[in-house]
């Protein structure tokens, strides 16, 4: 379903009204929502080369990177050779460019509004992640920028660590649950 036309109707976060992480005593853990982002998934044999041509550089499957497109930052998640997710905070300004990309060997489907991005930081973030996710996301196991697809508090997530902070993408319809589960465990970790 295309939503190519712009709208002045403001977006609403899936996390509207959720409780904050907790007391200011929890400075060792910070949880926040990132975005909102416009997002698309580009699929097909030509997906990675197509996005690489936009990025004017090489992309590596499984490694998150950023590039510039028309003066806007494009967050690139190459999930596989034939599946790349691109996200931007440009709020509609890149929509026409992204949706006009499609040669015959790719499909472009908008995901905007369907996913929620959380950011977990603080000096205890890594320790908390060992409780949130059964997959080892520590620096000893995965390099910064590596995309890990794993359960996060029991829901499907894409997780990237960089500079000690974790970016975690979950489906919008489970975002509230994920936030509250993470916040609950964060409170426990801080007490």
């Amino acid at each position: 379903v295309t939503t190519a036309a712009q709208t002045a109707v403001p977006r609403r976060s899936a996390l509207e009204g959720v409780a904050d992480v907790g007391s200011s005593a929890l400075t060792a853990i910070a949880l926040e929502e990132a975005g909102p982002f416009d997002e698309w998934v580009i699929r097909g044999p030509g997906a990675l080369p197509l996005v690489a041509s936009l990025a004017r550089g090489s992309l590596t499957v499984g490694r998150r990177s950023t590039t510039q497109l028309a003066g806007e930052t494009l967050d690139v998640w190459p999930i596989a050779e034939d599946e790349v997710v691109v996200a931007t905070a440009a709020d509609g300004r890149l929509r026409d460019r992204i949706e006009a990309l499609g040669p015959d060997d790719v499909s472009i489907v908008e995901l905007t509004g369907g996913r929620t991005t959380l950011r977990l930081g603080g000096s205890s973030a890594g320790e908390l992640m060992t409780e949130l996710c059964p997959v080892d996301t520590s620096p000893a196991a995965v390099a910064d920028g590596t995309i890990v697809q794993a359960p996060l508090v029991g829901v499907r997530a894409q997780i990237v660590r960089a500079d000690g902070a974790y970016t975690m993408v979950v489906a919008r319809d489970v975002a509230r649950y994920a936030w509250e589960a993470i916040a609950s465990l964060a409170r426990g970790a801080g007490s």
Partner: protein, 290 residues
Amino acid sequence: MTDDAGILLDDGTVARLGDQRWFVTTGTGSLDAVDQWLRWWTAASDRRVDITDVTSRFAGMNLAGPAARDVLRRVTDLDIEREGLRYLDAREARVADVPALILRIGFVGELAYEIHAPADRAVHVWDALMDAGAEFGIRPFGVEAQRVLRLEKQHAIVGQDTDALSGPAAAGISWLIKGDRPDFIGRDAIASAARHGPGEVLAGFEMAGTAVPAEGAAVVHEGRAIGRVTSSKWSPQLERAIGLAWLPAAEAVDGRTITVRLGTGREGSTAPATVRTAPFYDPAGERVRS
């Protein structure tokens, strides 16, 4: 959607949005199964098909009732008149200034529109519909009401009214099958079943009294179970208890009296009911096509 053996897998909708774009909905609990089914068949072929689960991207709303068109007309520029947007049509259009997909379908037996709006702007669409419908007495309705309304139309729910052996002919929805298509999964099995005729069929019934039998209750004959109730509700509109039950084909005759056990298993007394093979409400389907 049927499997190779012609068994019903799911009852969703498919809307063609472009030469190579389709929007597919599934039953609430069937998403993962249908998603895997589509991917399995895609992987086994050399066809280029990309499937994206957009469940969390859209919020679906069903605007239903005799005034549905009057309400929708106030929040969209799309031609939604009877010939502009016919029954089963699908259009991408703005609703309350939000790009959305409008399907002219419903499950409750009334003129209805299914509106799929981006989830992050869906509350705005909902509020706009409620505001536009205020003068018509619009009210939210939930799944319990929907379950009664669909039963009045004898719409089966795959998984509740069907089981792992149910085909479309037995479930009374063979009219949905496009037998003239050259091929589809389950085509031969469905054609074979149609030639032989089903041994059991899903049929409507209405109770003679006010008792509502339990879902799962037996239909009995001379103390022996010959069928089972899959859905049963009290219909405030019809002021009687109605339901769907699997019956031997010979018993599924309009007007035939059957005996329904009111409890499950061997528990409970029995009560008479009458088989009704046509929808209880708007049997000609005039309202959904109005």
